[in-house]
Each structure stands twice: as C-alpha cells, then as structure tokens.
C-alpha cells in the first residue's frame, strides 16, 4: 500500500513545471496528490507564533506523554533555561530559550527607578488616586503614578548596559514539502500521509540512519538502544480521528496553532502585520514560503530574530534537489574508472 505511494513520490526527473514544481524541488501545492493520494484532506501543519511563547514547555511534556517517548537525558546545560537542547529521537518538541542583550521591539528599556523614594511612595498608598491601596487592582485610566519617571526613557541602562530580552520558541519537525529524510529513506519506512505530513513507520525502519544527516534541520535521529529513527508524527493517530496534535492542544498561549496550512499562512501574515504595526519590526515568518529550498514547511514559525539564533538553518535546501546532478557525475566517474581500466590493459604484456 505505502510502497506504491513511496515509489510514485520518489520518481525523479519529472519535468520542472513552474506551477506544480518538480518531485524533488520547488513549490508543490498538492503534496498528498503528488504522493499518490486521491481525495486527500487539506494539508495540515503548525504555525508556531514565538512572540507569545512563554517557554512553559507544556508542548514538550504533552508530546512525551501522548507519544510515550522515553526520557531524553536529565542534564543541566548551564547555558540557559533550556536543558532539552535540541530535537532528537526522543525529543519531538524542543523549546529554545534565548537570552539576548537587546531590547524587545516596542519595549521601553532602561527605565530608571533609582530616584524614586519608595518609602514616600508607600506612605502615599491609598491617599492619592494614582497610588491606590492594596485592594485596588488597576490604576485609574489615564493617570500616571506619582513619581513615575516620565520622559526618562533611554535605550541604555544607567550603567551602560543595554537591556535584555528573552526569546522562546517551540521547535518541531517541519514536515517539509520536499523532505530530505523521506527522499533518502531506503526502506520506505518514512512516508507521506494523506494530511501531507511525514511519518516514520516503526515496523519498517531498519535503522540505517540515512535520514539523520539528510535532514537540513537536524530533526530526526536514531534512538540509542532501539536502533530505529524517530521524529514528530504530527500526532498522526490524533489527526486520524479529527483531534489536534497534543502539543497544540496543550499550548496555553496558542503559540502553537494547528490547522489547514492555507489558513495558518493567512493567520501568520496577519499576525506579522499586526506586530509590525505595533513596532515589533523584528517579527518575520520562517519556513512559510513555498518558494524556499524545501518547498515550504508544513510547520512554520514567526520569529523575532534571525533563524540561526534559534538554531534553525537560515536557508535550508533539500539535498535531493541536486540528486540528478549527483547521479550524472557518478555515472561519468564510473565511466572514467572503466576507461582507466581499459587504458591500463591496452599495452601488450611484457
């Protein structure tokens, strides 16, 4: 069953159609159809809006719980609050945690509080409308608190340091349109589902490990002791019964959004426009472009810095784009090896 779809997805050398793209590279609006499905449901994916990620790691936990993934190391890295470190065979969601000496867009850094007399301010509590007592929950609208350092906002803190910001981002398998892991898998263990996602069949995988270096994002890996390759399935089992993946379900801020890819792309474009209007000019989308090196990701991101800061490759290209050229060069090399052998024998024996 899957053999047929694998083989048809794998056929290279299809002519480059500017609209549909080729089997190996370029835009591909109908991945499931390309893989041989008829009447496939809409392609689904994740839009991870890192601007609202709070780094709670509920996604990591939900993923581990639902998919029964074994423990992946209990070390403390000391580099940041991220002790998960990266995606791997037993880590299908990874929350990156970045601490930067750089203000958030729209943030007012370096607001000094040194000249505020906190005791005087405490004495005024409850006596003026701008300093409500402990019972109040919010200041009066439109009234600045007494002693607020109005007009003293500077980009640099008094001791010369710029302010810091925290970036958090939940990384996951990108479920590429042109997936290197799927292309190079020699057993057909990796396959394209009807939802356009990429899944490993663990009863087929023989642990050759070829998918591991083929992934331009460093997602899939071989599990030690088990020998087989594992990665995010986009909760294929849950999708089958109309449920959203465990990580998206568990995300408390809707940083991880699940849905049909077309809808997610619209939502993402609107979100970027909203953030830009709010002054967060750092906001950019990553992996949503069907023109990119992997034909667009099924799981894409809204980032607040360059992708490499989050441990993502800035311009990944599926390795099989160059496969026809590789086979041509190998054929030429094989021919020259044969020619060298013939050349070695043309002289008569002494």
């Amino acid at each position: 069953m899957t053999d047929d779809t694998d083989a048809s997805a794998a056929t290279p050398g299809r002519s480059e159609d500017p609209v549909r793209g080729s089997a190996l590279f370029g835009p591909q609006p109908d991945v499931a159809g390309e893989a041989g499905y008829t009447d496939a449901p809409a392609r689904v994916g994740f839009f991870t809006d890192t601007s609202v990620c709070i780094g709670c790691k509920a996604c990591e936990v939900a993923c581990k719980e639902w998919n029964a993934i074994p423990e992946d190391g209990l070390e403390l890295t000391g580099m940041s609050y991220d002790n998960t470190q990266g995606l791997g065979a037993s880590t299908w969601r990874h929350v990156a945690f970045i601490e930067q000496r750089k203000p958030l867009g729209g943030q007012e850094p370096g607001v000094g509080h040194e000249d505020i007399d906190v005791f005087a301010a405490a004495g005024n509590l409850g006596t003026s409308p701008s300093s409500p007592g402990p019972g109040a929950t919010a200041p009066e609208p439109g009234s600045a608190p007494a002693g607020a350092p109005a007009g003293e906002i500077s980009p640099v803190a008094p001791d010369g340091r710029t302010e810091l910001r925290w970036l958090m981002s939940s990384d996951v398998c990108k479920h590429c349109t042109h997936a290197g892991c799927l292309d190079v898998c020699p057993t057909g263990s990796l396959f394209r589902t009807e939802f356009g996602t990429v899944v490993v069949q663990e009863d087929i995988c023989n642990g050759c490990g070829y998918c591991v270096p083929a992934c331009p994002y460093g997602v899939i890996d071989q599990r030690r002791g088990d020998g087989r390759a594992w990665k995010c399935t986009l909760c294929y089992d849950r999708l089958g019964v109309g449920m959203e993946p465990a990580c998206a379900k568990a995300c408390p801020t809707d940083s991880i959004q699940f849905g049909p890819l077309d809808e997610l792309r619209e939502r993402a474009a609107a979100r970027v426009a909203q953030l830009h209007a709010a002054g967060v000019t750092d906001a950019r989308l990553y992996g949503e472009d069907p023109q990119d090196g992997v034909g667009g990701d099924g799981a894409f991101f809204l980032l607040l810095d360059e992708p490499e800061v989050y441990g993502l490759p800035p311009d990944p290209v599926v390795t099989t784009r160059d496969l026809p050229a590789m086979w041509r060069h190998a054929a030429a090399a094989a021919a020259s090896l044969a020619a060298m052998a013939v050349l070695s024998f043309v002289r008569r024996p002494r």
Binding site: Y217, E306, A331, A334, L337, A338, S344
Partner: protein
Amino acid sequence: MTGSDVTRDGMEGAHPGRDALTGASTGRRRRRRGRGEQAMVPDAEFSSYYGKPILNKPTWRPLDIAGYLYLGGLAGASSLLAAGGQVTGRPGLARVAKLGAAGAISMSLAALVHDLGRPARFLNMLRIFKPTSPMNLGSWLLASYAPLTVAAAAADVAGRHRIVGAAATAGAAALGPAVATYTAVLLADTAVPSWHEGHREMPFVFAGSGATAAAGLALACAPFRQTGPARRLAVLGAGLELGAFQLMKRRMGLAAEPYEKGKPHWQLRSAEVLTAGGAVLATYAGRPGHTGGRARLLAASAGAALLAGSAALRFGVFHAGVASAEDPKYTVVPQRERLTSRARSDGD
C-alpha cells in the same frame, strides 16, 4: 539570602555588578586552535543557538561506513582488473582480483548490515525500488553485484563452469564501476556541508581511490610479471583521486575547511603521501632493470601503500563530514551568504 538592603539612603551592600553577562554565552563559540593549524580565512562572524549544531550528525560508525566505502571501491575496481586479466591472459592477476572483489564486497556487506540499528531487517532495503534513495539503489546494486563476484571467484578457484565464471566476471566488471562510485552519491545526498558541497567531484575522487586500492591489492598479491596493468591503473587512479580532491576542496568554499583541520587533515595528508608514494613505487618497480625478489618487494610495498592510502582517504572524508555537521558554522555561514547575495541581486 541577599547581600544587599534597601534603605532611605539607597542600596547598601549591593553587589558591584552582575558576574554573568546576560546573553554573553550566545553566539560564536570560541575554540582553541590546535598546534600547526593556521587560519586560511578569518573566522566568520555568525550567530548560533549557544554554539549548538544545527544538523544531527550522522550516527554511522566510522569503521563500518568508512570501511564500507573503502571495500566497495576496492571490490568494484578489482572486478575490472579481473575481467581485464581474464581477457588478456593474466590468470594470476585475474584470480587475485576476483578473490579480492568477492572478499571485499562480502566484508563491506557485513559492515553495512552491522551498522544497521536493526540488522535483522536488512532485507527491508529491497522491499521497494526508490531512485531518490542512493542507499536503496546501492542495495539493489550490491544484491546483484555480490553474487556475481562470488560466482566468478568460485568458478576460478574450482576451475570448473568456465562459461558461467566468464559471464559472472563480465557482469561483475559491468557493475563494478557503479559499485565504486555510487558511495560518493550516498555521502553527498545529505545535508552534511562537507559531503554535499563536493557532490560533483567526490564520485571522481572515489573512482580514483577505488582504482588505487584495487591496483594495490593486485600489486601486493598477484604474480609480478602479470601486474603491468595494475601498475598503470595505480598511476591513473592516483592522478584522478588527487586531482579531483584538490578541485573539490577549491570549489567547496568554507565546507572545505573540515578537510584541513584535526584528524581528517592528517588522515587525508597520509592518504596523499601513501597514494602518491605507492604510485611512484609501482612505476619504479616496473622499470626493466628490476627483476626477481627486489621487484616483488617493491611491488608489495607499493601495493600496501596504495591500499592504506585509499583507506585513509575514506576515513578522512568520513570524519571531515561529521566534523562539518558538528559545527553550526558550516551550515549557517554559507546559507547566510547565499541569502545576502540573493537579497543583493533582488535589490538591483
């Protein structure tokens, strides 16, 4: 417990400053350079996630997979020597080459299966035919090639079924070049920078390396009088291997750096010296003045050098690739440059 108090006069006993700078550990990892290494280009500035690699490095065991590459090249080119020896009436050369091909390909298959996470599922490689997977095509290739080499060797040793033996020898010689070069595609069809960026030249490097290994085996083991073609193949193969490798490194840009550093560097230097030295020795051994024991000794040392040189090359290439996957620099910097130049050309 804090060391400071807030009083009416301000902070007292406050810590003079933070010991750890926020965000100071992000970005470029500083590494000490080993002795004898010189920077060819200034260190590129780039961002990364705490210096963590972007790619997951290959899980392949070096001895298994580099050994597999080496033995595949040795076998493939040996099949050519076997067929040539048979056609031109050099039975001693043909026998050594046939036995070498059969032995090497059997060992390489064993290494391949040993490296699998689930060796019992080896035959899953043959449940589909998939041209986008070099490992799948390689499995089909080996599945047809290995029995041919074994049949050719068995017929030769037994001295029976000559026609079957000749057909198997011819078949093995037809598939041999593909067996020797497809392994370059196997490595290049990955996201590993130092393998992928060499996808044009690496098949030629491996073709040359396979030729020198097969020539080395023949020089070391075949009767000296029949090793003329092996000597010439050694010279041609060494030329192709060394030339293609230099070209590859020149064209790869930053991804060539792992070939010039650390363990891969000395492995590849040894490979160059052994291969070039072996080829020179082989030529020297073939001069008319040399006969008998002296010539045999020269040929045997040339053969050993060529065999060792080819193996060192495969290990060097393997380790350089792993090193390039372990450092985010080789992933980030070329991709960032690509983006910058694209943005620049879009801007024009």
